[in-house]
């Protein structure tokens, strides 16, 4: 359990984190979502006591991080930037960290195997790819078998296989009853991995919600249909009270009718369907709508992109 209360961080004139309060409960994956520069990493550094909050308090399992004598048993963290000396081998990197908390060699070997670095354990981490570096960071986080895990942008720069591995790891850690806190600027990734979402923009809390709720909230869900008899189908659907918009690519964008209903109606009237799909990619769109006002560096026409997001 991570609890932040009124957390703020000021760097000179800019307020990186602004009166942020949230709770990360155990047994779930909580996604920490926001555009680049919205204060996610700063918040995570404050949780670990690396940066001191300008005001406010954050605790992990009821205690401030600095109060822990052997914190690796409580919290494991993967930070965004590489936090290792490139001249040290993977094994020695973990061994040095493990020693500080009284963790033995067997556990170091165990986590190296767990993240798939067993065969390169004696190589210097400076030569590691981004993905291997991430794996080593995760191995460090797992050293103390902690109840709370924090990963800052873990899938950044990973290949598809690595992304899948992280996804499964994160889910299994939460299934074991641990608190998992995961940051990302990609809604699509979060919608697959996270149960709960904490969405921030410009250092402020926008919403604390669940993925399911956010999906329901999404205003842009629709059914997409492609048919050679599109006009006939549109007339039939409109007669049933659905709203049909003809798209530029000759498809129909239907709201107010389920895909089941559209399919039935087409069959009953002998309409050929070449495509029938539910478009629910609106999480991304909902996220962009939520954070539109708080994106720091918005490209010209960004609003248009956000609306056309699906």
């Amino acid at each position: 359990m991570i609890e932040a209360t009124g957390l703020s961080k000021r760097y000179g004139a800019t307020l990186a984190v602004d009166d942020l309060s949230f709770t990360v409960p155990p047994g779930q994956v909580t996604g920490f979502l926001g555009p680049n520069g919205s204060g996610k990493s700063t918040t995570m550094r404050m949780i670990l006591g690396l940066d001191a909050p300008t005001s406010g308090v954050v605790t992990v399992n009821g205690k401030r991080y600095a109060e822990y004598r052997r914190p690796l048993f409580e919290v494991g963290a993967l930070l965004e930037a590489k936090a290792m000396h490139g001249g040290r081998s993977a094994y020695n990197h973990l061994r040095c960290l493990a020693l500080s908390n009284g963790i033995g060699r067997a556990r170091v070997d165990r986590v190296l195997d767990q993240v798939g670095l067993g065969s390169v354990a004696r190589q210097r981490s400076g030569g590691f790819s981004l993905g291997m570096g991430q794996r080593l960071g995760i191995a460090a986080a797992l050293l103390g078998d902690p109840k709370v895990l924090m990963f800052d942008e873990p899938v950044n720069g990973l290949d598809p296989e690595g992304v899948l591995w992280i996804r499964n790891l994160v889910r299994s850690l939460a299934a074991e009853g641990r608190t998992v806190f995961l940051s990302s600027h990609l809604m699509s990734e979060m919608s697959i991995t996270a149960d709960r979402l904490i969405i921030i923009g410009r250092g402020r809390l926008i919403t604390e919600t669940t993925v399911a709720d956010l999906l329901k909230r999404g205003s842009g869900n629709f059914v997409r249909v492609r048919s050679p008899q599109g006009d006939a189908l549109a007339t039939l659907l409109e007669a049933q009270g659905a709203v049909v918009v003809r798209q530029a690519d000759d498809t129909l964008r239907i709201t107010g009718a389920t895909s089941d209903a559209v399919g039935e109606l087409a069959r009953a009237n002998g309409v050929t369907l070449q495509e029938l799909s539910v478009q629910q990619a609106s999480l991304e769109q909902t996220f962009m709508e939520l954070t539109r006002d708080s994106v720091d560096y918005q490209a010209a026409g960004g609003d248009e992109l956000a609306r056309a997001g699906s």
Binding site: L48, L50, E74, A81, A83, M84, H85, N92, C96, G102
Partner: protein
């Protein structure tokens, strides 16, 4: 979940301290820069001792031979090996910041001053062992390579043993000055520049002062004060060996104290 070593509750604070010490020793032992700098330091000390023993005697006048400080000259390599010790002292702390390792370190040991204290201890012990060894080794190499018997000294002569131990002490405290400045500056290049700026620049500036000032301030500049401990026949206005060493320690202590204050005040 798999069961591993029990966490804090069952452990005593002393064992926590010992664990952090082990961790810092592990860090020092597992990077190449440690071996390179220490190897360079020992090599400088021994090679210079041999070269000086071979080439110096032929160039000395009778008067110079009479006042020859055999011990001090045998430790001439210190002028080079001090660079290696200063660099190592700096790197012990700045490599944490430049690589980002500091974030992993402080996530494992949030008690920052305790972490810095264990770094100081691990470095001090290592530097004392290597520094003292290389001083004694340089002395014996010098004596062995010396062609003229009249210039030889014995380790039982007054001040010789103190000067040899002093060589190790000087190198260690110089490294600690580097560690302190490294903790303040946190960047490797800047810290190394600061250490050697502090050692060499005042030394040069003092030469520009009027004689009366030079003899008053001169002995207190870091290099002058520090080298008293490894001289057997000190220059006229030099501080006593232990007084000079005390002054030298003071410079390192101020840098370290500032490092200890700042490490808790700044974001990592």
């Amino acid at each position: 979940m798999e069961a591993i070593a029990s966490p804090q509750s069952s452990r005593k604070p002393l064992s926590a301290f010992a664990d952090i010490l082990r961790s810092e020793l592990c860090k020092l032992r597992t990077v190449r820069s440690t071996y390179w700098t220490l190897f360079a330091a020992v090599t400088f000390n021994l090679a210079l001792a041999a070269l000086l023993a071979i080439f110096i005697p032929g160039q000395l006048s009778a008067h110079e031979k009479a006042t020859f400080d055999s011990t001090r000259v045998s430790l001439g390599g210190i002028h080079l090996s001090q660079i290696a010790f200063g660099v190592l002292g700096v790197l012990v702390i700045t490599s944490e910041y430049t690589t980002g390792m500091i974030r992993a370190t402080l996530s494992a040991v949030p008690q920052r001053r305790l972490m810095l204290a264990t770094k100081v201890i691990v470095f001090t012990v290592t530097a004392l062992i290597v520094g003292t060894f290389s001083s004694f080794a340089a002395y014996f190499v010098f004596q062995a390579c010396l062609s003229e018997n009249s210039l030889r000294s014995s380790i039982s002569d007054p001040g010789v043993l103190r000067a040899l131990i002093g060589g190790g002490l000087f190198l260690t405290v110089l490294g600690l000055l580097g560690l302190g400045l490294g903790a303040i500056i946190r960047a490797s290049a800047g810290s190394i520049a600061a250490v050697f700026g502090l050692l060499f620049v005042p030394e040069i500036l003092v030469q520009l002062l009027p004689t009366s000032w030079k003899s008053t301030i001169g002995p207190y500049v870091p290099m002058q004060a520090g080298s008293a401990i490894f001289s057997v026949r000190p220059e006229a206005d030099a501080l006593g060996p232990w007084t000079g060493f005390g002054v030298f320690c003071l410079y390192a202590a101020v840098a370290l104290a500032l490092g200890f204050v700042l490490i808790n005040r700044r974001d990592a």
